[in-house]
Subunit: 379 residues, 2 copies
Amino acid sequence: MFIYLPCTLTEIHCVQQIRQTLKKETALKIGIKDIAKQANVSIGTVDRVLHNRGDVAKSTREQVLSIIEELGYTPNLLAKSLASKTKYTISVLIPDPESNAYWEKPLAGIKAAAAEIKKFNFELQIATFDYSNENSFIEKANQILGSNPSGFIFAPVFYESSLKVIEKCDQLELSYVFIDVFIENCENLAYFGQNSAQSGYLAARLMSLSISQVISHIYIVKPLNPSAPVYHLNLREKGFVSYFSEENSDQAILHSMDVDISSPAALDESLDAIFASSNKPLGLFVANSRVHLVASYFEKNKIKNVILIGYDLLQENIEYIEKGIIQFLICQKPEEQGYKSVFALFNHLFLKHTVEKLNFSPIDIIMKENIEYYKNFKI
Amino acid sequence: MFIYLPCTLTEIHCVQQIRQTLKKETALKIGIKDIAKQANVSIGTVDRVLHNRGDVAKSTREQVLSIIEELGYTPNLLAKSLASKTKYTISVLIPDPESNAYWEKPLAGIKAAAAEIKKFNFELQIATFDYSNENSFIEKANQILGSNPSGFIFAPVFYESSLKVIEKCDQLELSYVFIDVFIENCENLAYFGQNSAQSGYLAARLMSLSISQVISHIYIVKPLNPSAPVYHLNLREKGFVSYFSEENSDQAILHSMDVDISSPAALDESLDAIFASSNKPLGLFVANSRVHLVASYFEKNKIKNVILIGYDLLQENIEYIEKGIIQFLICQKPEEQGYKSVFALFNHLFLKHTVEKLNFSPIDIIMKENIEYYKNFKI
DNA sequence: TAAAATACCGTTAACGTTAACGGAAAATAT
DNA sequence: ATATTTTCCGTTAACGTTAACGGTATTTTA
């Protein structure tokens, strides 16, 4: 997907030149042999200057370099991988999908990317940690750092521990990519994730569109596990709130509500309280993928005509969208985030391309009418 | 993107077996040599059975085949492409992007895919035709069919002519892929495009959400070039209409309107007529990418509070979304359609994988709040 | 000034596959 | 019986690159 072998105009022109000068009909693509011949050296020397392996006189080095430039040489990656003995290992450290279903998606993307670059001598090493256990993160990270990988993809959900990991990476000159969570002022190769505040803002816009009454009570629900880190939740809430303070401030009265989902009954109680109050909600914004828990409550209690907006294409959420209980899901291509994280390292380590540092996923709006085409992950 | 080289458990197991039996430490991956050794034949024979090149006794053939099966041999695609002398040519025939800006997008995807598979000896041959000139389509198609390509991607926008092209393809046993437009009951390898009716249905849902008054006049605008084929337009209209007949039939009064955009003044006149009438519109659904023409009218005439929904991420449309004049754009990943069309042929011709025949793109909903992340095409 | 070290460069065997070439054995024809 | 096919298979030179190995000159050291 990201492997470009551009054939520039210059290149084409030079191929034609070479064809004429060398009088060889087979010289369709410039190879290491062509530049060796042109420079009056052997392919060994060319390879030495290409890889800075030393043992070549400054003058010949420059000569070869200029011919490489002139002919617009690009290496044949197939031959390169075939002949090369260097192996690349990409280590991955993300929350365990068993305990947090969301992470199945980035993982799927990571694996898909890995399958593609396997033929270029790239190998994956996947480790997971417990989302509600900072020590497991530290432990696994240390294991990985000790194994001397070529590149490292991780979700820096624990701030302090992550800083230490980052410091170690910098020391080891190990390229690392942040996924999902972003930490500022780092030497990370890239970040792939979402713009949480903006997605909250968008959710608010959709909410605003969907509620018709002039003044409505809208609840922001934040389902969380007390021992797990909160990162996107607050940003999403912030974005949601900022919409209504900027755009339609007289339309909505906002209420924010934390719900501990480690105990099953807690959610029910909280929601009971809301629906029993005099401030009856016309809209609920659930700031993460646990929106299906709220939807389940809606179904059980036959609540209708309340707009429900949440996050992510989990199987449970898909079902509630199709039933019409959830109106909108915001989804930010988690598979793609994983996929692209791997390719960022591939581009950097193998192709020596520069990679974009900050990469936000599109904010997909999913509703009953278009969910069909988002259900199945296909890169 | 679609190149999978799965390493099954069986495969891993067998590698370990081979390691033990052959006592070779280097036997990490089963190659043609390994199966030659195991079958007591030469690599030439193995290659002959692998490619059905004949000249091999039935008994040895079966022997080799069973060992291939047993060891779970998968060819090394890099070495294959390096050594192979067979070149693949994929011909493409689509409307000229110069006359129809939409087609820049599929073309971009096609080129991106081509760049990726260039290293596997795949070459692209791109031809375009005039959207309002059926003969140009026929002419170019015949040229392509005469050039004996390995695969053919085209937009069958002219029905009758396309049928003839398809017949010719079937005769030549040439694999062909439909892009954008679908013709039923064909032997096409695949189709990549959009579900037009569903996108219209979705647009109607968005319209319904956005208009607040109980009874509203809504206009369906179909900007078209009289000499050019109409395909998606009517389906989108159909979907749009069907929503309001199914879901909120008492909310909207629908009006349909064809506009000839070959003369610049025609649109103005038609819109003037609408806005001067007693049935003032509260929503306009423009069924193709020319929605920017309507938006321009809105801007010029300072029309506010009328919901405008259209199609596709053309630069002009992007600007009107950002200005808040267009509320929604429906977009169906045209780049991806082009990209995937090429890869369908790659999968079929090179990898010998089976490919899905019917492929609809997701229906992306784009509004001011999320357009930022859809602007730039990145596969 | 001879010996040792260094700087520089060419040669070559891989990597896994393709496909042309040729040759031995078996089958058929004369 | 020999001559001629036919069947079947092994050998080998590519494909473009990597990287180890070894070999000249040239410079440095003793």
